[in-house]
């Protein structure tokens, strides 16, 4: 079946510009996550959605970063006034959260990422 897809796969922009990164989760997955991975580092948590609402946005670095998931499926990560330090791979993941009677495991399935380069 189809996995998590992210578009664009690569994005080059100039400092100060606005960018939008899109994530299409696996169909039926209720939870969606955004992470940022800098070169040579592990992914760093940004924000987590359960349905349409942000359950935890504690990882967003500042108010230039914003994410939405208006219909509980596709999500968009928005970055205003981009800076060179924003250059990284932005990863999206989704999971199907089980209820109390279900499995404890909630595997996060990752997309291939969007490589953002801010010049």
């Amino acid at each position: 079946g189809a996995g998590v897809s992210q578009t664009p796969s690569n994005k080059v922009t100039e400092k100060g510009k606005y960018v939008e990164l899109r994530c299409d989760p696996i169909s039926g997955h209720t939870a969606l996550y955004w992470y940022r991975q800098s070169l040579g580092q592990g992914p760093e948590f940004l924000i987590y959605f359960q349905g349409t609402g942000a359950a935890d946005d504690s990882g967003l670095p500042n108010d230039r970063f914003f994410a939405v998931r208006p219909e509980g499926s596709v999500s968009t990560l928005k970055i205003q006034r981009t800076e060179r330090g924003d250059s990284a791979v932005y990863l999206c993941a989704s999971s199907f959260q089980m209820g109390l009677a279900g499995a404890l495991q909630e595997t996060q399935y990752f997309g291939p990422g969007t490589r953002l380069l801010v010049l």
Partner: protein, 116 residues
């Protein structure tokens, strides 16, 4: 100090060798432990998932968790060139209902090369 520490390597071994990858952590709230494999220019892929101290085996892979020492390991037996990738440990706290909380905290990743 980072919550999760992982030796970045790189680690280079001959085919057939046993590989040991390790992470330490400082946050006692972490209850769920995962190992992901990431190939170049791909997203991480889950290999192992554990939520208790002890060993868990899956084919050539064994995950070991020692909560008292805040130390986790991944062992790969009979390593193959196709195992060449970056290995990431990841952890999460417990959420509502005893399931893992969504936010994962990753280690830096260890780059592994298995040469024929």
């Amino acid at each position: 100090q980072k919550e999760v520490e992982q030796d970045p390597g790189p680690l280079s071994v001959p085919e057939g060798a046993i590989v040991s990858l390790n992470c330490t952590y400082s946050n006692s709230a972490f209850q769920y432990f995962m190992w992901y494999r990431q190939y170049s220019r791909k997203g991480p892929e889950l290999l192992m998932y554990t939520y208790s101290s002890g060993n868990k085996e899956d084919g050539r892979f064994t995950a070991q968790v020692d909560k008292s020492s805040k130390y986790i390991s991944l062992f790969i037996r009979d390593s193959q060139p196709s195992d060449s990738a970056t290995y990431l440990c990841a952890m999460s706290a417990a959420g509502a209902g005893g399931t893992s909380y969504g936010k994962l905290t990753f280690g830096q990743g260890t780059i592994l090369t298995v040469h024929p």
